[in-house]
Symmetry: C2
Subunit: 344 residues, 2 copies
């Protein structure tokens, strides 16, 4: 920067002004152009550290997650957040925590590094409260929401997911649609079960409790599904998660039935729906993880910079874009998007 000033025959502050785009009406155009030219020649790049020492802005975002780094879906979210951050000139430091103590630790470290704001994510653990230590920082919750709706969040819409998934089975011409759920009290269970019922009802199907099979794991679960097969002979299955879908696959195979041909499955997961149905065939339907991350980052950056995000440069996606500029706190619910074949 000093070199540029010398090369252009101006002072350092002029260079600073120009390079920060604050020259409008302060530095004469030709001079500004000269400065820019010299800067280019010398291959100047800002030193963000030095800058942040003055500005108290680092353009670094902290991503706090419990287990985010251990699911493939989380990766997509972080990827999206990183891309968005990168677009706006930010970087993300991701930290994973296990338990309160380490969380506070990581937060403290992140603060020392001067992050401008935080993502706070709890994978598939939807109601959470943001630690007090994040108090006066901009925060966006990802795949989680706070009890009193104070914090902007982006999270899956369990009801809609199950609704769409069930509709898919109906489209595939299934007549006896089973619900293979979880007998543990999962947070997602209520919304999904309601979505299943609503989809049936909206399509003129009567809800039949004998088609509902809430199971735990392993042998007993497998036998319960086996029994359901024998007694009700379902031709469509809504599965709460992968493990439950597995039982259906196994039972079908034992009967010589092929999933995707003789019976249809739509399996949900915390972050994904996979479907093997006759028509449409062999597709996976997922939450727009990448986009969730992208949106979350845009939201966070807009909070930091106190200006609306520019949605024109958003990624090409089939995911419906939620309105991000709604007043804070905004709750964004995600729908599902198509993702290609389930078998690779």
């Amino acid at each position: 920067m000093k070199e540029i000033a010398e090369a252009a025959g101006v002072s350092i502050s002029t260079v600073s002004l120009v390079l920060n785009g604050r020259d409008e009406g302060r530095v004469k155009a030709p001079l500004a152009a000269l400065v820019r030219e010299k800067a280019d020649e010398l291959g100047y790049t800002v030193n963000p550290l030095a800058r942040s020492l003055r500005t108290c802005r680092t353009r670094i975002l902290g991503f706090i997650s419990e287990e985010v780094a251990t699911t493939p879906y989380a990766g997509g979210i972080i990827l999206g957040a990183q891309d968005a951050a990168s677009t706006y000139g930010y970087m993300i430091i991701t930290v994973s925590t296990d338990g309160r103590a380490s969380e506070e630790n990581e937060i403290a470290t992140l603060k020392r590094y001067g992050v401008d704001g935080f993502f706070y994510s709890k994978m598939s653990n939807r109601i959470a409260s943001v630690p007090a230590s994040l108090g006066d920082y901009p925060v966006v919750m990802v795949d989680a929401t706070d009890a009193d709706n104070q914090i902007p969040s982006i999270e899956p819409d369990e009801f809609q997911i199950a609704y769409d998934a069930t509709k898919r089975l109906i489209q595939a011409d299934c007549k006896r649609i089973a619900y293979i759920g979880c007998s543990e009290n999962m947070i997602a269970q209520d919304g999904r079960f309601a979505g299943y019922q609503a989809a049936l009802q909206d399509s003129g199907f009567a809800y039949d409790p004998s088609l509902v099979c809430n199971v735990l794991n392993n042998g007993p679960a497998l036998r319960a599904v086996d029994k359901l097969f024998d007694e009700r002979n379902p031709d469509g299955f809504f599965c709460f998660n992968d493990a439950r879908a597995w039982y259906v696959y196994e039972c079908a195979a034992r009967r010589g039935l092929t999933v995707g041909k003789d019976v249809s499955i739509v399996g949900v997961d915390n972050h994904r729906v996979f479907a093997e149905t006759l028509e449409p065939q062999l597709t996976t339907v997922e939450l727009p993880h990448y986009e969730m991350g992208y949106w979350a980052a845009c939201k966070l950056i807009s909070m930091i910079e106190r200006k609306p995000v520019d949605s024109s440069s958003w990624p090409n996606t089939t995911a419906p874009m939620p309105p991000l500029d709604s007043p804070i706190p905004a709750k964004i619910h995600c729908a599902l998007i198509e993702k290609g074949s389930v078998r690779s």
Copy 2:
């Protein structure tokens, strides 16, 4: 820091000396103690940004990956790297790239942020070359290696993985052990196939080519496995990956055979082995992802600080710890570790 100096009645430089542990033989012990006490009282934490402005050391590490963020295994690696980094007072900025251009971009950004060193990872793409732009930075390759062995790396040992997995089938008392491989030319294929053969040979089994079944995907693959079942009736299966294991599960189910009871499977993946065998039963065997990340970070930090890593504080793990202090470049090959039940 100024406040501490005032409170303790010393100068700022003394405070700096003490707080950086460079007081030995320079500042009198009681004075140093006083400084430390005041620092505690005032809740002092260093400002890493200001510090790095002087030292040209940020204690930030850059993690460059292509698709690292999209596999669950990658998450484990990053997690381990982060934990190690955190232990030594470092942070990690992870960037994901797609293609050369964006990679160079991310590298440039990371450099501007003053990272002290780089992880360079290419998931399951084992031979790679580190971009020239990383030239004079400390670099550790993760799950990749360079052609001319110039860069320290940590990567899976395909031969050993397949060897161990096959041994497992032998332990489970399998007599006709099939190899379900990949007819595409995968990098991992050679090592794994060799490991399979070596394990058989070492246990006194004759290698039987008719038990080898290299397939592609979908219907044809399924039929090929079906044929193998009919013709050779294997009781143990080494599967190159998940997809291949799936065909075996399907074929077994159709014959009323239960995997883990009637037949045994050991399935490998780029990063994981899962086994369903009679004895030992229902276990997953994985690469020590977490540890890989941990070790990689230790290695990188030791390169940055030009001193051997302290391995006494390493994470509790059943994974065999590789020697990290071998001369650079060190190639670290990972073995497998037990991980609990395959079905949750």
